[in-house]
Every structure is written in structure tokens, then in C-alpha cells.
């Protein structure tokens, strides 16, 4: 892999983390001293993706804005890696009229026609719409692909199995991605899933399956390259499961008392920085520049969001129908 590509993956991950750190700050800033989930500049549930950036960066490096991504309730890293406008993303999270959904959606319901991005707050239910996008792309005779993302908990849901079977049957240009972060909220993978690798489930539906064990962005990049090239070439769907890590809670406010692995988690971003530095691709100075640029973009987006108007209460019933 060339240095530019590697630096690109690193930049994407840093941008995503910087964005979420900013959201984290503002999310908690005005919920104290009595913590109220519905209060503050950013109300509601907040599922952050810190630790899972390698999955999004590695997959989306092979996509263009013409390709579709359907993500989960934890969508920011994929939204950012797929090139969503940070201002529109931030404004939606802050519930502003200038947001992607004009404040009607929120952070679990991001719909961006310009990057064919969507996400769903319902486990495994982002898979079926991706089939439809892939179906439309195939009918249009173009080599566009749809990437459908879920967590490992979703692989026990009917929607997952129905979708993988149908995509295989109809040879749809879909790449299924499973982010295995070990935890379905508080239930560990070993207590929910009867097999160790969901790549096995892929082969049971007659498609290629791969499992990346070490949350390596380059491992994801390699596997995604193969899967996406095959989908573009009309060779049907593939599945990639990545053993990744959820550095923070299921949602903000989750004390994670059920978790005994917190002391052993590896943050993939500094780990990748060290690797790039030892390979002579990244210097401390360059890393600083990359971080500074990421923060500049994030600050701009958050400032845009905070200075944007809230939707008018009189318009609450607008947009139910086209």
C-alpha cells in the first residue's frame, strides 16, 4: 500500500475521532449537575464510534459519493469516511434547521442524498434497504455498489439472514460489513452468538466471507478492496466482519459496569500512528498538522451548527409527505 493511501486512512480516522470528541464535549457540557438525557444543546441518545474508525476508513476508501452506505445507530465514522458534509452532519446532531434532515432525524437518522448515505436505529434493518439501492444500481447498468453495515449483535437478527440470502440469490452488488465490537450493549458476543466468526455464515449463503481479527485499518482496506471490486464487476455480494473495539459506552451515560475489558482496550488511532511513524510515513510534525486540520474542520462544523436556527415549532408537521 502506498504512503498516500496510508496517510489518507489515518486522516480519515483522525477527522472522525476529532468530530466525536467535539460532540462528546458539547453533549455533556450542559447536562450537569443533574444529568438529564433530554437536556442541553445535544439532547437524546448519543452513540459514539470511537475505536471503530478503522472499519469505516478502510471500507470507504474504495467508495465514491455515487456508492451507497447504510449504517447503524452508531453512524458518524461511516458518515464522515464516506464524505458527508460535516456542517450538515453537525447541524443535524444539534437539531438545527440547517441539518441534513432539518432537525427531524437526529444522529441515528441521517439521510444524505449527495453521498447516498442513510442509517437506521433498528438493529439489522439497514441491510434490506441497501439491497434495494444495489438493485437499482444493477438495473441502471452502472458499477455502483451498496455497503450495508451492522454490528455483530445484528447477525442474530432475521433481517440479516434474509438480506444475505436474497443478495446472494440475486447477485446484488452489496458488501455486508459487520463491526464486531464484542458487545451488544451489555451482552458479550459469547453470550449471544453460537459461532466465532460470521464469515462462516457468509459461506452458508454462498458468498465470500472474511474476518479481520485485529481492528487493522489496512486489513479492512485489503478485504474491502477485494469485496468492492468483485461487486463492481458483477460478481455479487461479500461479507466482511471486523473485530473492532468500542472504546466508549454503548451510549453516552452508559457506566459500563458490566464490562471487565476496559483496561485492555487498544486505541487504533495512536497504534496506527506509531506504525506509520516506524515505517517513516508519518512524523510527529505531520501528525500535528493532520490533527490541526481535522480540528479546524470540526470547529467550523460545530460553529455552523451552533449558529444555525432551530426549526420552527410551527413546522413540526412539515415533510410527512412529499
Amino acid at each position: 500500500m502506498d504512503s498516500q493511501t496510508r496517510l489518507g486512512l489515518y486522516k480519515t480516522m483522525v477527522l472522525s475521532r476529532s468530530f466525536e470528541e467535539a460532540i462528546l464535549r458539547d453533549y455533556h457540557a450542559d447536562k450537569k449537575p443533574a444529568w438529564d438525557i433530554g437536556a442541553g444543546l445535544i439532547p437524546g441518545e448519543m452513540h459514539l464510534s470511537a475505536g471503530q474508525e478503522p472499519v469505516a476508513a478502510g471500507v470507504c476508501a474504495h467508495l465514491t459519493a455515487d456508492d451507497a452506505v447504510t449504517a447503524t445507530h452508531r453512524p458518524h465514522h461511516f458518515a464522515i469516511a464516506h464524505g458527508m458534509d460535516l456542517r450538515l452532519l453537525a447541524a443535524e446532531i444539534f437539531g438545527r434547521e440547517t441539518g441534513l434532515g432539518k432537525g427531524r432525524g437526529g444522529h441515528m437518522h441521517l439521510f444524505d442524498p449527495s453521498t447516498h448515505f442513510s442509517c437506521s436505529g433498528i438493529i439489522a434493518e439497514g441491510y434490506p434497504p441497501a439491497l434495494g439501492q444495489a438493485f437499482a444500481f444493477k438495473r441502471q447498468g452502472k458499477d455502483r455498489v451498496a455497503v450495508a453495515v451492522t454490528g455483530e449483535g445484528a447477525a442474530n437478527q432475521g433481517g440479516f439472514h434474509e438480506s444475505v440470502n436474497l443478495a446472494s440469490l440475486w447477485k446484488l452488488p452489496v458488501v455486508f460489513v459487520i463491526e464486531d465490537n464484542d458487545w451488544a450493549i451489555s451482552v458479550p458476543r459469547d453470550s449471544s452468538t453460537s459461532i466465532r466468526s460470521n464469515a462462516v455464515r457468509a459461506s452458508s449463503y454462498g458468498i465470500r466471507g472474511a474476518r479481520i481479527q485485529d481492528n487493522s485499518v489496512e486489513g479492512v482496506w485489503d478485504a474491502a478492496k477485494t469485496a468492492i471490486e468483485k461487486a463492481r464487476a458483477g460478481e455479487g455480494p461479500s461479507l466482511i466482519e471486523v473485530h473492532t473495539v468500542r472504546l466508549w459506552g454503548h451510549f453516552e451515560g452508559d457506566a459500563q459496569a458490566y464490562r471487565d475489558d476496559l483496561g485492555s482496550l487498544i486505541d487504533p488511532i495512536p497504534a496506527y500512528a506509531s506504525q506509520l511513524e516506524s515505517d517513516g510515513v508519518l512524523t510527529t510534525e505531520l501528525a500535528g498538522k493532520i490533527l490541526k486540520e481535522a480540528k479546524r474542520q470540526v470547529d467550523d462544523a460545530v460553529e455552523f451548527a451552533k449558529s444555525s436556527p432551530l426549526p420552527s415549532a410551527a413546522d413540526a408537521e412539515k415533510y410527512v409527505f412529499a
Binding site: 434490506p128 434495494g132 432475521g158
Partner: protein, 345 residues
Amino acid sequence: MVLIDTSSASVTTRKLTTAKAMVEGISQEMELDQSVFVLGEDVGAYGGIFSSTTGLLEKFGPKRVLDTPISETAFMGLATGAAVEGMRPIVELMFVDFFGVCMDQIYNHMAKIHYESGGNVKVPLVLMTAVGGGYSDGAQHSQCLWGTFAHLPGLKVVVPSNPFDAKGLMISAIRDDNPVVYMFHKGVMGLPWMAKNPRSLGAVPEQSYEVPIGKASVVRTGKDVTIISLSLSVHHALDAADELATQGVDCEVIDLRSLVPLDRGTILESAGKTGRVLVVDEDYKSFGLSGEIAAVICESDPRLLKVPFARLAVPDVPIPYSRTLEYAVLPTADRIISEIKHLMG
């Protein structure tokens, strides 16, 4: 766009069953618009269990008429995703009773995307589904459930009762930029293997036309009492009105045709004219369509009614299997006559 009202159906003498009228509507739109396609269970070689897609596979081929696996969640979501990318799917859920295995894709996804996206993403699709009982198919294959779908924001809901409306509403539904739930009662389809009311066969123009979504039809004018109904119960209401006319009672019959949007104007106008309202609904009684219409009248002006509002709906029990029990709960012409006589004092 050609708008034709039911009154001008007399310009044609060609008669079709409701099923054939539906298929003709689909077929004409598929010819016009390459983005329209049909998918669902047994919609291909079988032609739809209730003949809603007969002949389409032969005419348009397997790329546009697709049999799916019994994976309702997957293919409902597929329809939504394809619609988001500019296609116009017609997806069939064989029986509305099956919605339980795929409702998330319907009410959380296809219905909400337009709103959640602030109007930036449209979902133009038709979800067509068979409803209704009367032929001893039991509690899991006989429900109407239109009140359930109409309750959830983001879905238009249409329920044709006759061939003319079936074709026109289908064409309107396909052209609509929203998800439209198109619910056809098996008893109005004119199927050769099921007892049918003669109203299941009717005049249908050969050209393409739209019946507007959201517009009820006054299918019989009268001055004494208003019967508000939809689907197969409209047939029963008209039969009852014919009989009551011989006894000196002049019934007005309204076929709602659309539940979302609901034509409140036509309901209120007729209620104001006759002062007596009976709602006939094959869906469950409580928390549904009949209560909604009572609310529409009350919210406008309860003094519109000279006598208390009345409703004939399926009591809150699962649809029974045995014929005597099933017909003890379904609306029938006899039961409508009895209710009207009560209303007339």
C-alpha cells in the same frame, strides 16, 4: 394526467373484474415508465394469489416482475431502497396479516424516511396487499387492519371497492411520490373461486386515468341517512340501501376509497345533510376507523347529527374460522339494514 370521475365510467361499456382492472393499471404504468417494477411472493408465474399481477411476467419478463423468497423484511426493505434511488417499486405483501414479520421496514423505514430527511429523500412505492375475510380463512388470513396502517404517519392508504377505482387508484398510487399502501379486499376482486358481489365486475375505460388519492366518492345519494364505508362493505351497504329504498328509507352511501388522506369534507357534508351516520367497517371496532370518523364529526360540530352516531364493525375478537361464527362478526347487508332501522327510530 386524465381525471375521470366515477360518473363518467358510463362512457365505456367494457367490463372488467377488479383484479383485471388493477393489473391493467399496473401494466399501463409499466409501459410508460421503465422504473416501475413488481416484486413479491408468487407475483410471477402464479400471477398473484389473488390475481393482482396476472400476465405481467409474460408481458414484462423476469427483470421487472420478480418472485421473492419468503423474506418479507428483505424484500420490503429492498423496495424502499430501490425507491430511494429513483425506481418505482410495486411490492406485494400477500396477506396484510403477514405484516407482523416485516412491519419495521414499513413503519420505521419506508414511512419515516421522507420526514427524517427533512424532505430530501422521497420513497415513491406502492405496497399492495390483500385484506378481508368471509371465506373461512381463519384469524391469520382474514383481517383488514387498514386502521393500523392509517394510524402510522407517513403512509398514504387507499382501499378501492370496485374495478373503476381499482385501476385509477393504482395509477395514482404508482405516480405518487410517497409510499402508498394499496389494500384490496379479496371479496371485491371478482375471483372465479370465491363468492362475489356483482359489483366486483364493472365498466373500466381502456385509457389510462387517475382516481385522486384523498377523495371519497358518494356512490349513492340520499337524504335520510349516511352510510360511510369502504371496500367490500360498500357492496353490502349498496345492497342494504336498495332494500331500504323499497321500505321508504333513502340512504346516502359514501365510499371513502382513501383513508390517508381522509376526505373529511365529504363526510361532514353528508352528515350535515342527513343528520344520521352509520359507519360500516370490516376492521376491528375499537381504536380504529369508525372511532376516527366519529371524532371527525364531533370535532367539527356534534350538532350535525340528529341521532347518536352508530357503527357496525368487527367486534374486538380474532376473526373466527367457522362460518356461523365468522358471519356473526362480519358486517353484512342484513346487519346494516337492522342498524339503519334502529337509527331511523
